[in-house]
Amino acid sequence: MAKIKKTIKTVRIDIDKCNGCRACEMICSAFHANPKYSSVNPERARIRMVRDPLKDIYLPVYAGEYTAAECMGRDIYILDGREYEECAFCRASCPSRSLFKEPDSGLPLKCDMCEDEPPLEEPLCVKWCINDALIYEVREEEVEEEEKLDEMEIALNSLVDKHGLKKLVDTVARMSQKG
């Protein structure tokens, strides 16, 4: 397969600069409202602060992939005298917690770096963090060209995720026999 250049968008998070104001959550929820900016609700944000001022814990976490099952991770990290649950660092929209789910439907949320047309200069959480705890960085990396899945494959993949390949194949086979 051919090597291609891929743009990697990242946010550098400098926790020491975070003042805990949650503007990132607010503007994220506004950007993703429909119509855009028509409502605010940090609960819908794809970035959330793990915030415990008296323990000096200020940790912005971005929403990542949905996961169907919770993992075993319940470890405790002690960093610079501060105690974090392992889950604090996790981006997953996971059954073990309410984080990164639409409050009414429960559907998973995922950060899309504020994809927009025309594209924004930077994600809005970064723009609104004028204390520079969040810094947007773009770099290019060479990666193997990915095989693009078509729509049907994507749909089937999610069924495979949920039920397993064997069950899916059996079901399709049974359905096709019924004609």
Partner: protein
């Protein structure tokens, strides 16, 4: 659909346990905006002047502002309103933090609390589910500790809690309500909360708040953020560092305290210590501050860092902002390390950082003068710092002399008698003021001190520079980008204002000029307090991002209610009169509009009378300080005029 506001209040009766979600009248938003404005209207309608502060009929209102929780930076204030046990007038202290936005996301603009619970409880507002919960296990717990315990109990770190400490539970007249890094401290709101047996209000909300014209609001906010960045990078020249940038005075960031320690007064607001700030002290205090300051922190959706997490070795962490850093230190003639240590205990007890240190220093003076006896101080340690800790413990428990002192200097002095009144010298409307004693009368401050019912000078100061600039060139430079002024005249007054000579204090700015300046500065506070936007980004600092010309754009776009500048001015006047009216009905008159006699050394009684006469007229009040019928009618407040008439507040034949 309602925009920017939720359109619902939560009505809680603690006597019966009844809880209701009540839709509000959208017309009220047009007339009074929200926050302080609608609080004042509710107090007017529902708390008649006969109501005692510690009566079940007194209301305690926790309100967001009209713009609270919208994308507007700094729109996070909670405006708490009740009748103050100390002044016996309508009190409205405010706090920043995270409470008001959370309340709005829970679906309410205000929580209106009435009645009195038979036992200690806390209120748990979780979207539509609202519970009155037992708080007997929280009795006597610290205000900070209580917030943590409730969050643990509710198993949700995203809950925000406003709580009282022991001082509130024991109805100390200067008890505060604490919440995260913020507190509503002035005028004893915490005592009313304690009287209602309400230990805390916890809130969690996950609902949307709608914006009427979203793109306009976001563009506006973008400009505000850009301006804040520019303004912080370009401090105003010619003023002290804490006033050169935006925000509440930057006491947590700045360690140079030469100005405060040498110009504010020590002890019981008396002793000025010129030459105090030596290099040695500077070094020591800087070390103290930097060693305990863990992080500078903000309120909801605000980039400014006016607060700090304070970690003093050996005692539990707490959060601090602004001037309480120095009030205890200076009241006790001690050092900054003591200040941070006692402030921790005071924050857990939940007391006001201006009144409490002054009350303690007052007690120490009375002891030294022989008015309080050894018996009153029985068991008190002999060292200076120990004595202050001891007094604090007695006051919040209302034990012995502490029970008398817990009512504040004014009431305590009257109880103690024997000449103690002379020592309660720093109050306005019976409420302790900032410890500041100056030389020459400042007519602008004279009017603000006299007439402002927020009763705390640090929160009514405004955007007109505190002192003239020495040269014409500097003044011209200053006015070049001074777009926040309501009109060009204000710039002229500043350009003409000299440190010495014909155009200097006390006679310049002149009477008319002072009226205009003070009226403008006060107006901006009234607008902020109704919108729930922090004064630190608007009415308080020089050249702020929000001002009278751009506020109408933001309010209209966020709410969908088209309000122009003229209308906004009218609303602010209406709210001003309504706050005044609440207090006039409770007996407030001209005599109450008096700064401490020793605030300035050089006083001009005749000139001060002319100033106050002119300002009353400018505000549309009669010479007693009562809003005239004409003023009230013009502002759609005919119902207030009628009430005044029925109560015989007007003299015969008055219009």
């Amino acid at each position: 659909m309602r925009y920017a506001e939720t359109g619902y209040n939560l009505e809680v009766d603690l006597s019966t346990g009844n809880i209701e979600r009540v839709e509000t009248d959208p017309r009220w938003t047009e007339l009074y905006l929200g926050g302080l404005g609608t609080n004042a209207k509710i107090m007017w309608d529902r708390v008649p002047p006969e109501t005692e502060p510690f009566s079940p009929d007194n209301l305690l209102i926790f309100s967001s502002g009209l713009l609270g929780a919208t994308p507007a930076p700094g729109a996070n204030r909670t405006i708490i309103t009740t009748i103050s046990p100390q002044t016996r007038y309508m009190a409205y202290s405010m706090m920043g933090g995270f409470f008001a936005p959370e309340l709005k996301h829970a679906g309410y603009d205000k929580v209106i609390i009435r009645g009195k619970s038979p036992k200690l409880v806390y209120l748990w507002i979780n979207n539509d589910k609202v519970e009155i919960r037992d708080a007997s296990h929280l009795a006597g717990k610290g205000a900070v500790e209580t917030q943590e315990l409730i969050k643990q109990e509710l198993k949700d770190p995203r809950v925000h809690v406003a709580a009282i400490g022991l001082a509130g539970e024991n109805r100390v007249f200067f008890a505060s309500i604490e919440q995260g890094r913020s507190s509503a401290s002035r005028l004893g709101l915490g005592a009313v909360m304690g009287d209602k047996n309400l230990k805390a209000v916890a809130v969690r909300g996950t609902k949307d708040l709608n914006i009427a014209r979203p793109v306009e609001v976001i563009q506006f906010c973008d400009e505000v953020l850009q301006y804040i960045q520019w303004r912080q990078a370009n401090p105003i020249p010619g003023v002290m560092p804490i006033l050169a940038v935006l925000g509440s005075p930057q006491e947590m960031a700045v360690t140079d305290e030469k100005w405060h320690t040498e110009n504010f007064v020590w002890g019981n607001a008396r002793v000025r210590r010129k030459g105090f700030w030596t290099e040695e002290i500077e070094q020591k205090w800087k070390e103290t501050q930097e060693s305990v300051r863990t992080r500078l922190i903000s309120c909801y959706n605000c980039p400014l860092k006016c607060g700090a997490i304070i970690s003093v070795p050996g005692i539990s962490r707490y959060m601090m902002k602004c001037f309480s850093k120095l009030t205890y230190t200076m009241a006790a003639f001690s050092d900054l390390d003591f200040g941070f240590r006692i402030a921790q205990r005071a924050t857990e007890y939940g007391v006001d950082g201006f009144s409490c240190p002054q009350v303690m220093a007052f007690a120490v003076e009375l002891k030294e003068a022989g008015i309080l006896s050894d018996k009153d101080f029985e068991g008190c340690p002999s060292d200076n710092e120990g004595r202050f800790f001891w007094l604090l413990d007695r006051i919040v428990r209302r034990e012995g002399i502490g029970d008398v002192l817990a009512d504040g200097t004014y009431w305590a002095a009257r109880k103690i008698g024997n000449g103690a009144e002379e020592f309660a010298h720093n109050t306005i409307r019976k409420h302790e003021q900032a410890p500041l004693k100056l030389g020459m009368l400042n007519p602008i401050y004279y009017l603000m001190y006299s007439t402002n019912e927020k009763s705390n000078i640090t929160q009514i100061e405004g955007q007109f520079p505190q002192a003239p600039y020495p040269t014409r060139e500097e003044r011209e430079e200053f006015v070049k980008d001074w777009i926040q002024v309501p009109n060009e005249r204000i710039k002229e007054y500043f350009l003409k204002w000299e440190p010495r000579g014909e155009f200097s204090m006390p006679f310049y700015p002149g009477i008319k000029e002072c009226c205009e300046i003070v009226d403008w500065m006060e107006r901006m506070h009234y607008i902020d307090d109704s919108l729930g936007i922090c004064a630190g980004l608007s009415s308080f600092p020089l050249k702020p991002p929000y001002h009278i010309h751009n506020y109408p754009v933001l309010i209209s776009a966020a709410t969908g209610i088209d309000i122009d500048e003229e209308e906004l001015v009218k609303i602010s006047k209406r709210n001003r009169q309504l706050v005044r009216a609440n207090n006039v009905r409770r007996g407030l008159r001209r005599e109450d509009d008096t700064p401490p006699a020793d605030h300035w050394k050089k006083r001009f009684p005749e000139y001060e009378k002319q100033l106050l006469d002119a300002y009353f007229e400018y505000k549309g009040w009669n010479m007693d300080g009562v809003p005239t019928k004409k003023t009230l009618r013009e502002l759609d407040l005919a119902y207030v005029a009628e009430d005044f008439e029925q109560r015989g507040i007007y003299k015969d034949g008055e219009d």
